[in-house]
Every structure is written in C-alpha cells, then in structure tokens.
C-alpha cells in the first residue's frame, strides 16, 4: 500500500476493498485505498467548563503546552500514545472526538504525580487524567472498568441489605463483567484454586483430624446457607432507600 504517513491516518478513515469499480472502471489494487478527510471542523466551546465539574480538572485552562507532564510521565515511558499534554490541549479546545480515540488508555494513569510536581503552571495534569477517565465512564463513552462493575454490585447489595453476600458479589461480578465462570472453573484460575482445596490425600493416609482441620467444610456450608438465606443487617429498614437518595442528590450537585 502506497501510504507512508501512517501515523496521520486513523484506521477508521481508511477505506479499502478487495475489488472496487467506480463508474464502470475497475480500480482494484493500489488505487482502491481511499482516505476520508481528517480536517477538524469545530470546537466544543463548553467542554472545558464541563470537564471542570469532575474533580481534578479545575486548573486545566492554565496549560500552555510546554510538555513537562508528558516528558515526566511514567506511563508515557511505557506507551508513547499516553500523552497528557495532548489530552489537555484537546480538552481546552473541546475536541472530544479526538479524546475518545484514546479512551482505552487514558485510565491507565498510575497517579505517580510526577506531572503535577513538574508542571510550571500548576495545571495538576494527574487530576485532569482522573477527570477525563471519570467523564468517559460517567457519560457512557467507554465500557465500564471491571473495578467499577465490582464496586457497583458491592454497593448495590450494601444498599439493599446493609451488607454483602460474598458468593453473590462474585457471581454477579463475573456475570456483569462477562467473565465465564464455567470456563474459569474448567480451564482457568478458579479450577486451580478449588483443586488446591482438595485434601482427600490426608484422609487416604489416615490423617482424619488434619483432613477436617484443612478442609473448609463449615465455611462451604455457611456459604451455601447464605446463598439461599441472604444475610441482612438488623433493622436495616428504609436506610438503603435514604442512602440511595442522598447519593443521587450528591451526584446531581457535582455534575449538574
């Protein structure tokens, strides 16, 4: 393919087909590669202020693009696509489509805060990374991270019953994050984990007490019981309802 400046071309703007006929002329081969224009046609003037509603981005407008943040960045050293300076610039101009192209890596910020320490304008780039990651997730621009899925299920159960039920948290977490429990049990870490609990060897060699002591019999029974009769905090009543309402109000206050 006769295209050299690959870095300037996003894959989604590249159109190729195995065979192409235009106006009756067969243009298969080199000439069937088309590139959609990459011109930026507008800014979203309100985006910078919008992002400032997410904590961490308060100083984003101070940036003058010196690049100290990217230069000092732990993640940039791993992956040169991780470029805080660039995302801050896009934020200032409201080039949100460009930001979203990097939604799969923005959350990878490790919060080492080297950028925040070095920034001559006190932009606090680490906070901006956090705000961007939150914006991407909160406004449905990206898939929820596994940790968010877990947190949500955990919080849901707390609100309903005042406490969690371990096996329900785990099974719902795997279900919601689309991890196949059967697959994990047959070929993954879950199978290995369970296999290690197998203490039949102790029993076979006549170590009855050791077998009883090392096999989580009571724990398994307790787990099974809890799966059917879910434990609930005493006199939980309407507490969950009131808490949910409070959380909802706080979110509205923070993000409008």
């Amino acid at each position: 393919m006769a295209i050299h400046e690959k870095t300037l071309i996003d894959p989604d703007r590249l159109i190729t087909s195995d065979s192409l006929v235009v106006d009756g002329v067969d243009v298969s081969g080199h000439w069937n590669t088309m590139i959609l224009p990459r011109t930026l046609r507008d800014y979203d003037d309100g985006f910078e202020d919008h992002l400032k509603q997410y904590s961490g981005a308060e100083n984003v407008h101070r940036c003058w693009q010196c690049g100290s943040c990217t230069n000092s960045c732990t993640m940039y050293a791993q992956n040169t696509d991780f470029n805080p300076r660039y995302w801050i610039y896009l934020t200032r101009l409201g080039l949100t489509e460009e930001i979203l192209k990097d939604k799969e890596i923005i959350w990878q910020c490790v919060s080492c805060n080297k950028c925040t320490n070095i920034c001559p304008k006190d932009v606090r780039p680490e906070g901006v990374m956090k705000a961007l990651a939150h914006w991407i997730e909160a406004e449905g621009h990206g898939a929820k991270s596994n940790s968010t899925v877990f947190d949500e299920e955990f919080a849901r159960q707390c609100l309903v019953r005042g406490r969690i039920e371990d096996s329900e948290v785990m099974s719902n977490f795997y279900k919601l994050s689309q991890q196949d429990i059967k697959e994990m049990a047959l070929h993954g870490w879950l199978g290995i984990f369970v296999a290690r609990m197998n203490k039949w060897n102790e029993l076979r060699h006549g170590h009855v007490f050791r077998f009883l002591a090392r096999t989580p019999i009571m724990h398994s029974l307790h787990m099974g019981w809890s799966m059917i009769f879910k434990p609930k905090t005493k006199s939980w009543g309407r507490t969950g309802e009131v808490l949910s309402q409070y959380v909802k109000e706080q979110k509205e206050l923070a993000h409008g």
């Binding site: 910078e48 003058w64 610039y89």
Partner: protein, 349 residues
Amino acid sequence: MTDTVLVVGAGPTGLSAAAGVASIGKKVILVEKEAVLGGAPIISGYAKLVPSGEWAKDAIGRMVKRVEDNPNVTIHKSTRVTKVEGESGNFTVTLSNGQTAQVGSIILGTGFTHFDSINKPEWGFGTYEDVLTTTQMEQMVSAGKIACPSNGRVPERVAILLCVGSRDRQIGREWCSKICCTVSTNLAMEIKELSPTTEVFIYYMDIRTFGLYEDKFYWKSQEEFKTKFVKARIAEVTKSADGRLLVKGEDTLVKRPIVIPMDIVVHAVGMDPNEENPDIAKVFGIGLEKHGFIDRGEQYTSTFSSTRRGIYVGGSALGPEDIDTSISHGLAMAMRAVGEMNALVQKAA
C-alpha cells in the same frame, strides 16, 4: 544655536524627548506631521495601554499637555522638516511652512507605520467586513461595544491571528514586532470584559510576552479570562455559506488541518518601518538599516546616535518598540542632545 533642540515627531518618544530637553532649561522646536499630537496611540485610537491599563487618550494626553504647557517648547503641527544643513551644534533646518530655525541637536522620534493587512490578502482583510486589524479592534473597544461590522451581531467567537506582518519572509518582514503578543492578550481581556459570552482564540506560532508581561498579560488572559491559545499558523480566511468566517490552517499540536467557524478575525498587525523613512533618510542625511528602520551609530559610548553626528534617533524609529521603552528613549536622547551641545560650548570656550 546651542540652546535649541529640534524634536521630530510628537509620539511617546518625541513628547518625552521634548519634555526632557525643556526640563533642563533648553528650548525645543517640536515638529509633527499630523494635525494632532500624541502619535500612533492617539491617531490610531488605541484603547487601554500596556502595561499601565490606562486609556491612551488619558495617558498620552498628559504627555501632550505637559509639552503644550511648557513655554520652552514651540510646536509646529501639520509640518515636516524639508531641509537640514550644517553640523552638530549648528544645524539650519527648513520646515514645510517656510520657516527656518537654528538648532544645536536633532532628535528623531519618527516612529513606525502599522503593517497594512492588505499585503496578506489570504487572511481576508479588505475582502470580508468582519476581518479587522488590532487597531480597528482597539477602536471598537474604545467605543465600548463588541459587534460584527457586517450585521451588528454579538460575536460568539473572535480569532486573533498573531504575526500578521511579522516574522514572515514571504513579505520581507523578518523581524518580530515585539509587542503584538502582549497587545493581543490584553485585547482578548478587553473583548471578554465588554462581551462575556464571546470566546477569544489566539492563533500563535510562539507567545512572546516578554519580561513582566508574561504573567500580567499572557497568564492573566489565559487564567482569568479563559482566552484559548491555539498553535496554528492560519493559511487562509474564507467565508461559509451562513456568513461566518472560516479560519483554515493546521493545528500543529493535533497535527491535523482545521477549518473553524469564527465571527470576527483580528489581525495582530506588526510594526513596519515608517513608510516615509526613505525621505527622512534623505532629508536628514542618515542611514537606514537592512529592514528599513533608521540605522544606529555607535551605541556603547554614543547611545542613540544615528549615523550622522548631532542627530539622535530612538523609539520605534529604530525598530519595533513598546511605549514605555520609547518614553525612556526620548528622555535618554534629551540627555544626549543637551550633553553634546554643552560639550561643544565648553570646547569653544
């Protein structure tokens, strides 16, 4: 002869020089080609000055009054110098009003000419009504209302293009005009003050707000007034079907072409050599440097000398200069002019 100094040009440089010479008790003949005193800040109707924030008509107005009220200063408005004969300590000058005068020294505060944006036709000045220069925008600020000249609507967006007529080999302007970055960041704040709903974008190659202008203008404009700085040299200004302007260029930080709608585009015009410098050079018998500004003589021991003895030059006649520095030049030249005359008197005695 050795008690009179000719000052040419009544802008910040000349007004300062005239007041300086008069304050040491010497006489001044002040010649100004325009009908009013004050130079570019008054004639072009600047708004608030950098860095004082005072309105030009107030600040420069005080300088004018100080000179007008001084009995040691004789003022000739709408007048030019047509002939200079003699030598340091004993010049005979002829004015366009027919008068002649004997003077000991000559101070040139002949200033600059604003770059004429018509020389960059691709940026739309002269083609579209809503493309303005910084001086026109300053006049709009002075008038107190920000509106598109084409139909009077309040602009949603204003783009200020830096380096119009500066740092541009294409049109033979190879110098930095020094003050436009600061003026533009200041203008952005003035626009925002008058029209809070307007977003101001500054398209830049570099931001050169030197010295204390850094935080007082650049940072303040960015941090308090939310001016947006875009690193792009605009290639072309065109118009879209809906009547808005389109700035076309490459955003060098995003590495992508841009075509962005704007309502007003402001050219931050640079400082050209005074368009009359070839004539001035001929009349005063002095040299010009390679860009066409007035050339300096030896600077370390004969500060502000031109290439002819007894003729001093300062301010924006030497190259792009800010008002405060021009005022200092004026005062320094007063010192040089009177000092040279005193030395000649002592030598003769």
